[in-house]
Structures are given as C-alpha cells and as structure tokens.
C-alpha cells in the first residue's frame, strides 16, 4: 500500500503514488536546472510538462493511479535532462571548470554558512548547526550549554545561568534554520548539485513544527509524568495499606470510643460506626481508590499502554459502584433508624 499525491500536470489532474511523485518532481527540477541559463526556460518546461501529461494520460486513465514504472517509461521517452539542454551543457561545463581550477578541493571553513540544523535537533538545532559549521561533535556544544546552565542554576558560578540561556536564545534568533535544499547545501558547503535534490534527507528532513514538539520538551514532559506517576504510586500504596486496619475498627470503636450514653443522631452515627459491614464497604471504596491510584501511577511512571481489557476502566467502574453501594446502605440504615429515635 502506498501514499498518494494529487497533482495538476500540464492542466490535467492525476493521482500519483508518493514515490512516483518524488521521481517526477526531481525530474522536472533537473530539467529546470539544466535550462537555468536559457531565457525561455519557463516556456520550455511548460511545454515538456504538457507532453509528460499527455503521455501519462495515455498510460493512466481517469480513476487509475500513476506509478513509478509509468514515470520511468515517460522519462525514457522524453530524455535525459542534460541531453535536452544540448549545447548549453558544454558551455556551462567550461565555465565551472575555470572557476574551480584555482580553489582547494576540501570544504573550507569560510565557505560554510552558519545555519540551525532543524533535521537533527534537541531544542532548536543551535548546537547541531554549530557542530556542522565547526566540524565538531554536537555533543560538545550541548554539554557546554548544559554545564553552564546547571552551574548557573545551582549558583556555583555567578551569572552563568543567565549567560548560557541568553547565549542560546541569541543564537536561536540570529541563526536561520536551514529549510530549503539550497540552504542545507550552503550549511555544509556542498555544491548545489542536481543529485542533492534527490536525497531523502534534504527533502523530507523533519517535518515538525518548532519548539512545541522538540525532543527537549518531550523529554522534560516524560520526566514530569514519571514523577507524578511515582507520587501516585506512593499515595495509592499508603491508602491501600491503611485499609488493612479497617475490618478491625468496629471493635475498637465499640470498646473505646463510644461513650455510654448517646442521644439523637449520635445513636445512628454510633450504630453505623460499629457495624462491620460499614467498614467493609469503606474498605472497598478506599481500597479500590488506592488501587486505581497505584495502577495509574505505574502506567504513567513506566509509560505503559493499557492492556485491551482496560484494567484502569474496570477499577474505576468498581470504585464508583462501591461508592454507590455505600451511599445507598447509609441511606437505608438512616431510614431504618430514624423512626426509632424520633
């Protein structure tokens, strides 16, 4: 199964498979590049596009999907882009030969441009971009910022906190993000060649929006949730352990807490409090609640997925049921006892 793209080619509508689309797009880009120096480049490209559309319509009727094979067949018929440009090619070759003759082959530092590398970023791609420019490991830059940040945060060094944060932000603003293929080539000082347009890394990089879904924030979120989960586990455990004593409470209350004479509503409360059933139900309510807490905490802390029978939901429902049972029991008891007092 493949993803598709809807395109308009030479005025005709097609649905093409994703890889076929990419191939076609890079083919057209190559042709455009080859006719770069021609004044009528746009018109030529338009005419060729119309021809490609004609050929594609023959192979791919309405309602069908165009695939890579069709595109490749069409490419064979239309021809290799360099061939199409004909004599132009030899002219540009001469020019570039002269230009590069006197320069060193290796990628010199001054020819690179400082861009943020958003394809391989933690936060904004600042460190990644710096690492490309200076040809050093990006981990070094990240460590530098983090250490400065931590030292400043824990006030080991005066003003380092502000300095590190400010420096990062300044770099974030000043360094543009390398988004287009040309920019990415400038960042690494690679010649802006036709084959660069084809590489997947250059084209489909990382199509996510800035900051909000950056890895740094995702990790921070994870840590936060883990801590919350841990707290929930502890609370749940505590609550659960405390319920163990519940069944024995009625005895305690009866023997030590109830004064000898009770009046009015106090009788009802006393009666309820001494009833073991009551405490069993409280045990149920608090026990299930604590169990739910522990379960939720474990899920959050260790980032598990719920099993298909959804224990969390089951525990929650049982908990609600136990509360309802408790409430109705209390009401029932009160209703029973009331006439006796009045």
């Amino acid at each position: 199964m493949k993803k598709t793209e809807k395109i308009s080619l030479g005025g005709l509508a097609f649905i093409v498979e994703y890889d076929a689309y990419a191939e076609l797009e890079s083919y057209l880009a190559e042709i455009h590049e080859c006719f770069r120096n021609d004044a009528s480049a746009d018109e030529i490209l338009e005419d060729i596009e119309v021809r490609i559309a004609e050929l594609l319509r023959e192979k791919c009727k309405e309602g069908m999907v165009a695939n890579l094979e069709m595109i490749n067949e069409i490419k064979k018929r239309i021809g290799d882009p360099k061939e199409l440009a004909g004599q132009e090619e030899s002219e540009t070759d001469v020019v570039t030969e002269e230009e590069t003759a006197g320069e060193p082959k290796r990628k010199s530092l001054k020819d690179r441009r400082l861009y943020r590398n958003t394809d391989d970023r933690m936060l904004a791609g600042v460190c990644s971009g710096l690492s490309i420019y200076f040809n050093l490991d990006k981990v070094l830059f990240r460590l530098a910022f983090l250490i400065a940040f931590c030292l400043g945060f824990f006030e080991a060094e005066d003003g380092l906190f502000g300095l590190s944060v400010l420096t990062y932000i300044v770099l974030w603003i000043a360094m543009p993000a390398a988004r287009t293929v040309e920019q990415k080539c400038e960042m690494r000082n690679r010649p802006i060649d036709l084959k660069e347009f084809k590489t997947k890394e250059n084209r489909f990089g990382r199509e996510i929006n800035e900051t909000v879904s950056s890895p740094a924030f995702r990790t921070a979120g994870r840590i936060f949730l883990t801590i919350i989960g841990l707290i929930m586990i502890i609370l749940g455990l505590g609550g659960f352990l405390s319920t163990i004593v519940f069944p024995s409470i009625p005895e305690l209350i009866e023997n030590y807490l109830i004064p000898d004479s009770l009046i009015g509503e106090e009788i009802i409360i006393g009666k309820i409090a001494c009833d073991p059933t009551f405490w069993w139900m409280i045990f149920g309510v608090i026990g299930l609640g604590s169990l739910g807490m522990m379960y939720g905490g474990i899920m959050l802390c260790f980032d598990f997925r719920s099993p298909s029978w959804r224990p969390g939901l089951v525990i929650f429902i049982l908990w609600i049921v136990s509360i309802l049972v408790l409430a109705s029991w209390i009401l029932h008891e009160v209703a029973e006892q009331l006439p006796m007092i009045v």
């Binding site: 030479g10 005025g11 005709l12 042709i31 006719f35 021609d38 009528s40 018109e43 030529i44 005419d47 060729i48 119309v50 021809r51 559309a53 004609e54 319509r57 018929r77 239309i78 021809g79 290799d80 882009p81 061939e83 199409l84 440009a85 004909g86 004599q87």
Partner: protein
C-alpha cells in the same frame, strides 16, 4: 550538427502542413531522427523566437488547449536556403564516401 538537422526536419514537416507538437515528434521518431522527445521543445521555441514558425492555441477535447504550430513566410525562405545547403552537403559527403570505398 544534430541540432541543425533537427531544426531543418521540423521546418520540413511544418512546410507540408500545420501540426501539434506531439505529431511533429511522432514523425521525427518514425524516421529515427530523434530518440529523446524532450529535445524538440527548446528547438521549437528557438525557431519561434527567430520568426521561422508560429503557433496558435487550439482547444482539445481532453484537457487544456494545446499549441498548434505552423511555418511562416520567413520560415519557408529559410527552408529553401536549408534545402540548398543540405543538397550541397550530402553531395559532398557522398563523393567522399565513394572515393574512400574505392581505395579499400
């Protein structure tokens, strides 16, 4: 040289009648003058710029309007000049070929 021959062929085809780009390409392919269809488009545009041919837009049943090419007066003049040049050239080449085969 290929390009020159190709331009000559296009003018020849259009002198016989007006054509769409696709049928020009088909005729050229039939006699094996071209292999890559894309080479014709830059030439068609170049010839139009030189005023040797022209086009108008024709409605087509399936889709957008297409270019319908025709040769111009200037084109016909150029064509007769090219005819003469071609005859000269081919006679010259033929005689060289005959000469070289005799010595074999």
């Amino acid at each position: 040289m290929r390009r020159g021959v190709l331009e000559y062929s296009i003018l020849l085809i259009l002198s016989a009648g007006d054509e769409y780009a696709s049928s020009i390409i088909q005729k050229l392919k039939e006699v094996n003058i071209i292999v890559a269809e894309g080479t014709t488009y830059p030439l068609l545009i170049r010839l139009k710029k030189l005023g040797l041919l022209n086009y108008r837009w024709e409605e087509s049943p399936q889709g957008p309007p297409r270019k319908y090419y025709m040769i111009t007066e200037l084109g016909r003049e150029q064509l007769s000049g090219l005819d003469a040049a071609w005859e000269e050239l081919s006679e010259g080449i033929e005689s060289i070929r005959k000469n070289s085969s005799r010595t074999k």
